[in-house]
């Protein structure tokens, strides 16, 4: 299938290593942040979220860190697997009804 990440920054990771994907957000008033994974030919899939009253949240193999001082988010993927190869987007919710502003995206390529 076609890739949506042809022009995106690429992170190459060896299988089994940890991945760190970074994102800068724009609105200091945003209070809810989401990481999405998008595989080729599919819509974005929810991975993990975090609210602004937290600075860290852990899921299964994933951790999101939030630094409000510098408006920075990161997604850490432990023991990266081939199935983690995809484009990853951060998004900030800009109103209470759910409008999302997406970051530029990072293409993660897992090598054997």
């Amino acid at each position: 299938g076609e890739s949506v990440g042809l022009h995106l920054p690429t992170l190459s990771v060896q299988e089994g290593d940890n991945s760190i994907i970074n994102c800068a957000y724009s609105n200091s008033a945003s209070d809810y942040f989401i990481w999405y994974k998008q595989e080729s030919g599919k819509g974005p899939q929810f991975i993990i979220d975090i609210r602004s009253n937290m600075d860290k949240r852990q899921g299964q193999r994933v951790t999101v860190l939030l630094n409000k001082t510098v408006k920075h988010l990161s997604l850490q993927i432990a023991a990266t697997q081939p199935g983690d190869s995809a484009v990853y987007f951060c998004a900030e919710m800009t109103d209470s009804w759910g409008k999302l502003q997406f970051g530029a995206g990072t293409q993660v390529v897992v090598t054997p």
Partner: protein, 114 residues
Amino acid sequence: SAVISQKPSRDICQRGTSLTIQCQVDSQVTMMFWYRQQPGQSLTLIATANQGSEATYESGFVIDKFPISRPNLTFSTLTVSNMSPEDSSIYLCSAHEDRGTEAFFGQGTRLTVV
């Protein structure tokens, strides 16, 4: 999580024609959102669709070009009108199960205008 179905999944259209994309949610949702994803880029919000009222468009998007319908709490359509090759993109709809929670997305409609 909500399941969102979009159709068509892809289409190739002649310039000057229009295409209507349908989005069906398996549960009732207050707001639905339409995004555009140009090749190799991120998602950009086109408009917010609230049932029973006119859609709210983001800067750079207008109703004449992207008319939206929202006839009930589970369905919405986006029409791409008078298409040109610059409209070639992936169009995605999304919804939230609850206010202020994560958005779920359809699989997208890949549109190519020739």
